[in-house]
């Protein structure tokens, strides 16, 4: 056991820092630092810069990226430095979700067709999982795909579809058969969002933003070749994907940055004769959070180390999902507490970073973020469901 970084790792860290100094565009950096939401083309531009360097699809097998594979330690260093510099978070639906399914379960034709455009961020994906009647009980989904000749005819509705308004393609769980065991009739289908019969309707969330959508399918014709894996194998793919999704969900590096930022900002807030950071009550909360965060960081590192030895993320990823999302909420809450009254003025996304706002210049996005982040203990399998997974799969209850 050894916590020290090797000389090669130290050199790698310097390489990342140098890369960020020269390649991270000033205009994107400025928006990120002001917490102004980015436009799609700005995210694409940044993902392409990362990809050129080989630091975008770092979890893919190297045969699909033509880049050198990073070690677990290098990935950790890379993510830490990217987060410290506050670079945009990768949109996960293509690179982190659809691609692993395609390279694990897809045909050679599917790999050739879909992976390159995900790698260079040309094609954007969204996720068609939840339905109005199927949330935690995902396997009860009803969106139907009937095979007629060489086409599937898809009918139904998906909900909470993040960024569907910008997506070119959607990967969907659909019901291809009515079976006694509901999991057995589910298939994994890739659908072009431009296909006639698809309608996207926005859902506005309590922070006033438009991030998620309803996606309706009315007799949508999908070529049968867009089925991934075997018909009826969709649930296994979904489970594989959810484990993948959860393993990166903790976002530890970003949380470390935000906690540091919280300390910096609260050390500038006067409270009586001292500062807010010096206030015992506030400081204790920050320290409790820091300890929990460190524990979660090392739980993640242990999981990653096991994975690099050939293990696959199993129920352990549920621990990271629970702890990571609880930390995200706690930290977003501490920001609100720090601001006191200046968390209350309400601004829409397009007002953030303008002269219209009152209070400290960092105030406007704080409450929307807190409100928006109530979602994190609900999505990706609610934390109640994650506890069920741990109780069943790890504790054997």
């Amino acid at each position: 056991m050894d916590l020290k970084f090797s000389e090669a790792d130290v050199t790698f860290r310097e390489e990342v820092i140098n890369f960020l100094e020269t390649e991270y565009p000033d205009d994107i950096k400025e928006k990120q630092d002001k917490r102004i939401p980015l436009e799609k083309d700005e995210i694409v531009r940044w993902q392409q810069i990362l990809n050129k360097k080989g630091w975008f699809a770092i979890n893919w097998p190297t045969e699909y990226t033509n880049h050198e594979e990073l070690s677990v330690t290098q990935k950790y260093i890379l993510q830490e430095e990217l987060a410290k510099a506050n670079t945009p978070t990768n949109i996960p639906f293509g690179v982190g979700m659809c691609a692993p399914v395609v390279y694990t379960f897809g045909t050679d034709e599917q790999k050739e067709k879909f992976l390159p455009s995900i790698l260079n961020s040309e094609v954007w994906w969204c996720q068609g999982y939840s339905e109005p009647g199927s949330g935690s009980d995902l396997a009860s989904l009803k969106t139907k795909a009937e095979l007629k000749g060489d086409k599937y005819i898809v009918n139904g509705a998906k909900t909470w579809t993040t960024l569907a308004q910008h997506a070119d393609w959607i990967f969907c769980l659909v019901r291809t058969e009515t079976t006694d065991i509901k999991q057995e009739g589910i298939s994994f289908l890739l659908i072009d969002m431009k296909t006639p019969g698809i309608e996207v309707k926005p859902i506005i969330t309590i922070d006033g933003s438009h991030e998620v959508n309803m996606v309706y399918f009315d007799n949508v014709e999908v070529p049968a070749e867009n089925l991934v894996g075997e018909q009826g194998q969709g649930w296994n793919i979904a489970k594989f994907l959810l484990a993948h999704e959860r393993s990166g969900i903790a976002g530890i590096a970003a949380l470390k940055r935000e906690l540091t930022r919280l300390k910096d900002l609260s050390s500038d807030i006067p409270l009586g004769e001292g500062t807010l950071l010096e206030d015992v009550q506030f400081r204790n909360k920050i320290e409790e959070t820091e300890i929990e965060l460190t524990a979660t960081e090392f739980t993640e590192l242990r999981t990653l180390a096991a994975m690099s030895q050939g293990g696959s993320p199993g129920a352990e990823s549920s621990i990271l999902k629970i702890k990571g999302t609880e930390l995200q909420q706690t930290i977003s809450e501490l920001f609100v507490e720090m601001l006191a009254y200046y968390a209350h003025p309400f601004y829409l996304e397009n007002e953030i970073g303008t002269n219209e706002t009152v209070g400290p210049d960092y105030a406007a996005p704080v409450m929307p973020h807190y409100l928006n982040y109530r979602k994190v203990t609900i999505y990706g399998g609610s934390n109640e469901i994650q506890r069920n997974v741990i109780s069943k799969a790890i504790l054997g209850l």
């Binding site: 909900t159 859902i203 807030i269 009254y341 309400f346 109530r374 203990t377 609610s382």
Partner: protein, 375 residues
């Protein structure tokens, strides 16, 4: 000991409950909140006609001589409907202050028109650096003949946009954190040198930041006496804490009941999710937190009415509990509603947002725990 309401109190409770149930459905509330004004002017006139605005104002000041109990009942019912009309701001925060400490002239020029619904008021006590400390005042007022000249900045003044007159705390002597040396002034909104930046707040209400540049105010507009505004302000905030806590209790009741109903009807895994023990226990905790708040609300309101020596401590204990329970109930109501809980469409998220701001307004849990310890 008696926890029952008298006949008049029961009458007003029924009346306000009826109003919220029959005339304040969710669509109405949202359209009022999203209107330019941010609330219903016709509702406000109705409150005046029904005598609600002056209900807790003393008869000497032109009111109906009710107690804090009547205000509590009104606010609790308002909390159930998430009513956005600024009863708290105009009548409790500013109105009670003038009722208890204003001159006869101030009562007839400011309080009486407020009771009859012709005038809106606000209380501007917070500053960018002050957080919840009422005695942290940098805004200053300097004597200039018969007038005072005010310079400074006031933060997040609730009901600021509609207020015709604003009560402003300013330093007339001493240093920034001193309790002595603070004076309260009634300032016209259209005074020269007073600029408002108006905005919507996250709970669907309205507020302003105020910039004061050489605003000239007659010394007749001082409430109480020079340099002794702190205690007046502090006791007005005590009343306001009782009122906003009553509102929170009403909102909590709706949230826990709505959540229970939802989990009875939402089916997953072939059964209603309310059958899952982990959710049952969560909702039992929500229910108990609500009951605990209600208990402290009644206790603190009665202690305040009786002028008990530990009334202030009781009020800080109440506000601490409201902050803690409001957060728990609000967050869990959203969690148990799943994705629907974070939508703008469903009312649950809006109740959660109001409980979030209520948790901060007049001091958060940390502040009141500390205050409770010190009293």
């Amino acid at each position: 000991m008696d926890f029952t309401f008298n006949e008049e109190q029961t009458l007003i409770q029924d009346q306000v409950d009826q109003f919220v149930q029959k005339e304040y459905d969710w669509e109405t509330r949202q359209s009022l909140s999203n209107s330019d004004l941010g609330f219903g002017e016709s509702n406000w006139q109705k409150f005046a006609e029904l005598g609600w605005l002056g209900i807790s104002v003393s008869e000497d000041s032109g009111g109906f001589g009710g107690s804090a109990i009547e205000s509590m009942l009104i606010m609790e019912a308002f909390g159930k409907g998430l009513v956005v009309e600024p009863f708290l701001e105009t009548m409790i925060m500013a109105g009670s202050l003038i009722d208890n400490h204003g001159s006869d002239e101030q009562k007839s020029l400011v309080l009486e028109p407020a009771i009859s619904g012709e005038m809106h008021l606000a209380l501007a006590y917070a500053e960018p650096q002050s957080r919840f400390n009422l005695s942290d005042v940098v805004t200053e007022a300097k004597a200039d003949g018969e007038n005072y000249i005010l310079n400074g900045y006031k933060s997040v003044v609730m009901n600021g946009p509609s207020a015709n007159k604003v009560i402003i705390s300013a330093r007339t002597s001493g240093s920034q954190l001193d309790e002595n040396g603070i004076t309260l002034f009634i300032v016209d909104s259209d005074s020269n040198g007073l600029a408002k930046t108006n905005y919507k707040t996250v709970d669907g209400r309205r507020a302003s930041d105020l910039t004061l540049e050489n605003v000239s105010v007659s010394k007749d507009n001082i409430i109480g006496s020079l340099d002794s505004g702190f205690e007046i302000l502090d006791s007005a905030i005590d009343k306001a804490i009782l009122a906003i806590s009553a509102e929170a209790v009403g909102a909590m009741e709706v949230l826990y009941k709505t959540t229970v109903e939802y989990t009875k009807t939402r089916e997953q895994f072939g059964t209603s999710i309310g059958k899952f023990q982990v959710l049952q226990h969560r909702m039992v905790d929500m229910f108990m937190e609500y009951e605990q708040c209600k208990s402290l609300l009644y206790m603190a309101t009665m202690k305040h009415e009786e002028g008990a020596p530990d009334a202030k401590k009781a009020i800080s204990g109440l506000k601490y509990q409201v902050g803690k329970a409001g957060k728990f109930i609000g967050q869990q109501a959203v969690q148990l509603h799943g994705g629907m809980g974070v939508t703008d469409e469903l009312n649950v998220g809006h109740y959660f947002k109001r409980l979030t701001t209520v948790g901060t307004i007049f001091g958060n849990t940390d502040y009141h725990l500390k205050k409770y310890t010190s009293l």
